[in-house]
């Protein structure tokens, strides 16, 4: 009974916040109301819900939350987060676009970037907003669709090839516990090419931030998107990160998800392959320690024939941390000649750590080649011996092996300066 009351309080608070913020919300209010109803129907997921089996969301949402997200930050404070050379940096603090911290002055031809709220009268926005992240599939999608008040809108015009990477810097910064709902919409038109980086950092953050972020990405025919996510919040950061990718024929999407720190990180990466001859590459790396909880869910939905998807997720788990990988390959009845592969490899370094992995295949077409594999183990004693026989200390041998294990994922990152940045973070981590 006690838990029921608690559950009600957070739901009640969210409902009260919705009612209060209603007049200020951008976009179609009826959609917002529908999403809120859907959220109330679904409720905050608990451990009995299959999709949230290994995380205790209830406990994370205990206590008071503020929905007031404004934080004035100085350019100096965030300089570390602008780590990419030659990138177009867009800074979002608690979901709010900070123009004076961003490079919002001029964009290359064919590129349009703005606040999501400002874009809500845009035709492209109206065509695509909330068309891909289904409010009835996940309570947090519903909640975000109801409450979202920040985020970015990125539009890449037909045939435009954007050379400079676009870096969306999501900063969590709070003095009291804050609940953030931020929402991005990225539309890449036919034959366009773009490189996107989304990073999650904490700056001057001394209180819990619970961020419920959704990125909807539309990739039209023949477009090529390279998308990398780096999650690097501090121990106050709780992050639910949903990415909904919708691909049309002959498009290519590479999505890299690198999880380095943060108390709780949940990634929902769903890709719908709705056209023929699509290529999708999903790579993931999670390095967890202390009491971190990292939960990666991926869904690759093959709707049309002749597509390829490839997925590789790797993790190193230390201390009392726990990591979950739940990947599903879904091949619909018409999606013949599908090639879909999935691999998940983990190294568990401590007895207090936990790995849960659930690689799934759900296949309704017969002329397909699908496979998944997962392995979990310790560092290979033979390899350590080999290195030690050549004069390396045990510790440096182990470090070398872990680095090599992680580099399979890191090597897939095409932007050189980004790869170097991540490698540096990994090296620091293993020190």
């Amino acid at each position: 009974m006690e838990t029921a009351i608690k559950k009600n309080t957070i739901t009640d608070k969210l409902l009260a916040e919705f009612e209060a913020s209603k007049p200020a919300l951008f976009g179609d209010l009826s959609l917002r109301e529908e999403a809120m109803r859907s959220f109330l129907k679904q409720g905050i997921p608990n451990r009995k819900s299959e999709e949230y089996k290994y995380v205790n969301i209830d406990a994370m949402l205990k206590g008071e939350f503020s929905f007031f997200t404004y934080r004035p930050l100085m350019v100096k404070q965030i300089s570390n987060t602008r780590f990419l050379k030659g990138a177009i940096n867009i800074v979002l603090v608690n979901g709010r676009c900070e123009e004076k911290l961003s490079d919002m002055t001029s964009f290359p031809k064919g590129l349009e970037i703005g606040y999501i709220a400002d874009a809500s009268f845009n035709e492209v926005f109206q065509k695509h907003f909330s068309k891909y992240a289904d409010i009835n599939t996940d309570a947090f999608i519903a909640l975000n669709t109801a409450l979202a008040n920040g985020g970015a809108f990125i539009h890449v015009a037909k045939g435009a090839v954007i050379e400079s990477p676009i870096h969306l810097i999501n900063i969590s910064s709070a003095e009291e516990s804050t609940f953030v709902n931020s929402r991005n919409l990225i539309v890449v038109e036919e034959n366009a090419q773009v490189k996107l980086i989304e990073s999650f950092e904490s700056v001057d953050c001394t209180a819990k931030t619970f961020t419920n972020s959704i990125t909807e990405m539309v990739v039209e025919a023949g477009a090529i998107v390279d998308y990398t996510k780096i999650e690097n919040e501090n121990e106050q950061g709780y992050l639910i990160n949903t990415t909904q990718v919708y691909q049309k024929e002959k498009s290519v999407v590479t999505a890299n998800t690198i999880t380095l720190s943060g108390s709780f990180v949940r990634n929902n990466l769903n890709v719908a392959l709705d056209g023929e001859h699509i290529e999708t590459h999903l790579n993931g790396l999670y390095l967890t320690n202390e009491n971190q909880v990292v939960d990666n869910h991926t869904l690759v939905d093959h709707r049309k024939p002749n597509c390829n998807s490839n997925e590789l997720y790797k993790g190193i788990i230390e201390d009392k941390s726990s990591a979950t990988f739940n990947g599903k390959i879904f091949v619909r009845i018409d999606a013949q000649k599908t090639n879909a592969f999935q691999s998940n490899k983990n190294i568990l370094l401590s007895d207090e750590g936990t790995i849960n992995t659930k690689p799934q295949l759900e296949i309704y077409a017969d002329d397909v080649k699908c496979s998944h594999g997962t392995s979990t183990g310790k560092l290979d004693a033979d390899k350590i011996f080999y290195l030690r026989a050549r004069g390396l200390s045990e510790i440096s041998a182990k470090k070398l092996l872990m680095h090599a294990f992680a580099s399979e994922v890191v090597d897939a990152i095409k932007i050189e300066s980004l790869r170097e940045y991540i490698e540096e973070k990994i090296s620091k981590r293993f020190e």
Binding site: L349, N356, K358, P359, L361, A365, D366, S371, G377
Partner: protein, 483 residues
């Protein structure tokens, strides 16, 4: 080509769909405490047994039917089932000659004639068989031969009368009545089953076998099997099942418990061929079974081998709890679904002891409009040092209207554990077919060859006496459907 073969297979009739004309004594339809008291009284059970049943029943009332499996079926009406059905017989049977000839014919049709058993009695390789028809064990063969070694092999009902101390000790120790919805139901209404106890240091000289058959209309079958292998003992146990063709869905909710003590080994093989329903998916058995073994002490081993070809809906996960150090769990499965059959099957390997090892090999074949899922759990608990698991789940799809799914759960809490899982889904490789055909093997034979090779890893694990029957069954289920 494929379509022709598929059509041929679809038109294939279930070969075991006869009804044996034997008078049977039934309880009235429905389920309440009186029915349970009726069953208990009929079976002349002691008070503790009745109490156990009632406790399970009262708990069952609080439960809701589970729905998480990847299957859809009309909810069984638990008040529309006959929970007790006995083939009528006048007195205790002493020899095979006294068994109702109609019943003997039934088993002859099944291809496991008791006459043959008799004839073979001089031969070394023999099988002791316990026949369970509808709900009640009909006859156990070779009981005396086994008794010489101290092996107890009898119907569950008999065991309750004659060995209450063993039943009290072990029943519900692996699958408690509160385990799940169908285990609770079974604990409340089970009517018979088999009990087997292998004493210390005894290697059972023959294969033990139970044959289950649902005969009467409107009945459900709820049997319990309990196998206990004491220290340093070994037994190989076989189970087979068939049912007549009926338009209604009949419910089979069994519980199988296995206990292996120190150095004990149990090998449990199943060939499940309940009536799968007709080509439109009408009728067929709902097979909701709880099977679990526990490697209680060090160096024990439990091995499950199953060939699943029947049932409209199959829902079972033979599991092993690896409690003793160095214990071993194995699961080998071939599951075939055709027409509108649905199977959600797999295993659970719970590693608790040190140096425990488990192997899972699952081969799914789906054809027609069927859905075939593998669902498995491998859990390495904290303190289960050097645990090792290897899983391989392959699916073969035949036709574009069926589905094959894999849902493995892997939970690891010990750093020394090593777990590997791999799964593939595909149809028969064109290159393999081409290879065979270029060597003069015709299409259908080539397909047969490839499928046979695909399942071989599992079929090889079946005891000799059973392998023949399993291959025959696979042939019936698969012949022509591949292509």
């Amino acid at each position: 080509m494929a379509n022709e073969l598929l059509a041929e297979q679809i038109s294939k009739e279930y070969e075991y769909g006869f009804v044996t004309d034997i008078e049977s004594e039934n309880a009235p339809k429905g389920l309440n405490e009186d029915i349970i008291r009726f069953i208990s009284k009929k079976k002349n059970e002691p008070q503790w047994m009745l109490d156990y049943r009632l406790k399970a029943y009262r708990y069952w009332l609080t439960l809701e039917e589970p729905h998480w499996a990847h299957v859809t079926y009309p909810k069984p009406d638990f008040q529309n089932i006959i929970y007790y059905s006995v083939p009528k017989q006048k007195k205790q049977l002493n020899s095979l000659d006294e068994v109702d000839p109609e019943l003997l014919k039934t088993y002859e049709k099944l291809g496991i004639s008791m006459e043959e058993q008799k004839r073979l009695s001089g031969v070394e390789s023999r099988i002791a068989v316990d026949f369970v028809m509808d709900s009640v064990s009909v006859k156990t063969t070779f009981k005396e031969t086994l008794a010489e070694k101290g092996i107890i092999f009898c119907s569950f009902g008999e065991a309750v009368q004659e060995h209450p101390e063993l039943i009290k000790k072990y029943m519900g120790s692996v699958v408690p009545y509160a385990d799940n919805f169908y285990a609770a139901l079974n604990s409340a209404v089970f009517t018979d089953g088999s009990f087997c106890y292998i004493p210390k240091g005894v290697r059972c000289p023959m294969e033990l076998s139970t044959y289950f058959r649902i005969n009467s209309a409107g009945t459900g079958q709820f049997e319990r099997t309990l196998i206990v292998a004491d220290e340093d003992s070994y037994v190989s146990y076989l189970e087979g099942c068939t049912a007549p063709m009926r338009d209604e869905n009949q419910l089979h909710a069994a519980v199988v418990e296995i206990v292996a003590h120190k150095n004990g080994e149990v090998k449990y093989s199943t060939v499940q061929n309940w009536y799968p329903g007709d080509k439109n998916g009408k009728g067929g058995i709902f097979n909701f079974v709880t099977k679990r073994g526990i490697c209680l002490e060090d160096n024990s081993k439990i091995s499950w081998t199953q060939v699943e070809t029947g049932s409209a809906v199959t829902w079972k996960y033979p599991s092993v709890i690896l409690k003793g150090d160095n214990s071993v769990g194995e699961f080998y499965s071939v599951a075939v679904t055709n027409n509108y059959q649905q199977a959600d099957t797999g295993t659970k390997m719970m590693h608790l002891g040190k140096n425990t090892r488990s192997t899972i090999i699952s081969k799914g074949i789906s054809a027609g409009f069927s859905n075939n899922s593998y669902r498995g759990l491998v859990r390495i608990s904290k303190g289960a040092t050097n645990a090792r698991n290897f899983s391989q789940c392959d699916s073969l799809l035949m036709g574009d209207k069926c589905g094959a799914h894999t849902y493995p759960y892997i939970e690891i809490k010990d750093k020394s554990g090593i777990v590997e899982h791999e799964a593939t889904t595909s149809k028969i490789g064109e290159d393999q077919l081409f290879y065979c055909k270029s060597r003069g093997i015709d299409n259908e034979k080539a397909i047969g060859l490839i499928v046979n090779g695909y399942c071989k890893e599992v079929l090889n694990k079946l005891p000799m006496e059973f392998a023949v029957e399993a291959q025959k069954l696979l042939a019936v289920s698969l012949e022509g459907s591949v292509g």
